[in-house]
Symmetry: C2
Subunit: 365 residues, 2 copies
């Protein structure tokens, strides 16, 4: 499938528009970390043409009013397409299904960053599972025992869930067995846990390294790679904080939109993944899980052979650091076209704020 | 069914021998807290004719050698019949089924008191569920999310489990729903959580009150009573520590063998339970869950009308305190007969150490 660039002799591949299922846009509420314009610039620079925005904004996206606030921000500022998620709270199990345009319900079951999104009581989990309609995917952040606990809910209610960011061997093994036995579960991993381990903490720095799920062991990372066949989705979990905030408070989260695809393309070059593996996990499966329409005339052209070193920070995010600084990668985004318009070419973002469209669940679902 | 004593005019009822599914005998390892002779004296004084011994002895009961040590102690000293459980460890998932005479496998999933019984990794839970034969009941201690997590294992492997000591509303609601949807789960509660709440901590004292599961709210207690129909088992969770040890280290656990039945008979007198409710939860269901034979010619005669106040400590346990001190109860054990022999009458234990027999899983199972 790759074609060879006649000027550089590099192999070039065209991918469909990538869907990043898990992005913390920080807008509204913390626009010094990122806003819809900078986040979506970072997205297209990373080959992402649909950003799925997590609800832990300030205020959190938990009802029609807050959803409309997010929508207004995104509609004015987004440079690529976007889809919006609603967050589960202790109080909105009955009403969350009425939120206009929410493509999924996000349940943060371990480390809710926003107090409002903390749902500790199993009866509230049950209320959400009972009330969330089948065409509204439930997307959960849950580790270890909490992951098993929410899989119990999925089995009990015979309800599909998507679990984000597996990071440990035990998690991948329990999801593998649950899938084998017919549970309706899909799962994602973040490049963070495919490429970094706790041994990297010393080099990167303790406070910068703070992330949820935590960096795991090299055995855990190996288990993710060995079981890559049951991983349905890759997503960046882009969660920018300034270096100053990290150094001061060790707030959890890394930027990731501009580094995800280069890191994964490097794995393709290393023979650990195929281009088909990437397309499945960054386009086909996320699209299916959220029931999104195809973006017509949309593609991402990547240079499989460009080698570069990840710098101290990436050019398009507001985030002024990256945990991948110094990683040598082979693979880069050359060109991104959304709905026939050139939005990115060789380092430059061309799409205007407000050109992005909201993606909703396809009416056919 | 009650008959009236012609001397006292008190109502008297005859119950089958009670089975206490969850007793920490402390022998071997901590015989200053309790030993097989004192524990089983306490048992018969409480109307219990089969003590099911939990494996967190020292050494923990986790293989044939340690099981034989416990059996030797019990065979020499027990004054009533007994059944022995094996404990799940990180290492014995393959071998635990070969332990001779273990009537069940105990998995302590929240607060393992013995380091050896701590099993943190979900893959180890899975190994135990995969290897434990169907005729070896799995008995779990798991609260809240951990409870949901182990219910997930039961559903995934379509395997029966018994969960001990529900204490919170969320737990009873999730078990109710799981049962309704066909999960193979039975559950128990301890009188502690039916009769005490966190508001009692002040009166009893912070350190004495330490227990797992923790004392819950009055809303939680109310939920247990309102859902008593789905509670399969009452068990004492007898877990003696000396008052000195409690005051010093706040080690978790209460004695309970001598107070369980009087407290429950008081609830019968209050109209909150029936005698049939007790027999089902203290005899019929525990017998079924462990697959134990009937004890022939065995019964417990209780005086439904004797009123008394629970003293500072009970006479037959070594434990020198009780959290129920000062509770006024109506109901007392008058007489206990095991296999035709009088073992208890009006405050006195007559059975000799070594007269108790080991109960094993019935061969027909
Ligand atoms: Zn996600
Ligand atoms: Zn996230
Ligand atoms: Zn497609
Ligand atoms: Zn950055
Ligand atoms: Zn128990
Ligand atoms: Zn116990
Ligand atoms: Zn019977
Ligand atoms: Zn006592």
């Amino acid at each position: 499938r790759p074609i060879v660039d006649c000027r550089t002799a590099n192999r070039t591949v065209s991918l469909p528009g990538l869907i990043d299922m898990h992005v913390h846009v920080r807008d509204p509420g913390a626009t010094h970390k990122e806003d819809w314009a900078s986040c979506t610039a970072s997205a297209v620079a990373g080959g992402v043409t649909i950003v799925c925005a997590m609800p832990n904004t300030t205020p959190a996206t938990v009802d029609n009013a807050t959803m409309q606030t997010v929508r207004n921000r995104a509609a004015t500022m987004a440079r690529c397409d976007f889809a919006l998620l609603a967050g589960a709270t202790m109080l909105n199990a009955q009403s969350v299904k009425t939120i206009d345009g929410a493509v999924g319900l996000c349940m943060e079951l371990d480390y809710a960053t926003s107090h409002e999104l903390r749902i500790e009581d199993l009866t509230v989990w049950m209320a959400h599972f009972e009330n969330c309609p089948p065409n509204m995917p439930i997307v959960v952040r849950a580790e270890s025992k909490t992951l098993a606990a929410v899989l119990m809910m999925a089995m009990m209610y015979d309800r599909a869930i998507h679990v984000c960011a597996l990071s440990r061997r035990e998690e991948i093994m329990v999801v593998r067995e649950a899938k084998r036995r017919g549970a309706k579960v899909t799962c994602g991993v973040c490049p963070t846990h495919l490429f970094l381990v706790e041994d990297d903490i010393e080099k990167i720095g303790d406070k910068l390294c703070s992330i949820r799920p935590r960096l795991a062991t090299s055995q855990d990372r190996q288990a993710l790679w060995e079981n890559i066949d049951i991983i349905d989705v890759f997503s960046s979990h882009h969660a920018p904080h300034t270096k100053e905030e990290k150094e001061k408070e060790a707030v959890p989260g890394y930027p990731g939109l501009e580094t995800m695809l280069p890191l994964l393309l490097t794995a393709v070059n290393d023979g650990r993944l195929t281009i088909e593996d990437l397309v499945l996990r960054l386009h086909t499966n996320p699209r299916k899980i959220f029931g999104l329409a195809e973006q017509p005339d949309t593609f991402v052209e990547v240079d499989l052979d460009r080698t570069w070193e990840i710098p101290e920070s990436l050019p398009h995010t507001k985030c002024d650091w990256t945990p991948f600084k110094g990683h040598k990668v082979r693979g880069a985004v050359s060109r991104v076209v959304i709905r026939g318009e050139l939005v990115y070419l060789d380092g430059q973002v061309f799409s205007d704020p407000g050109s992005g469209k909201e993606m909703r669940v396809e009416s056919s679902l």
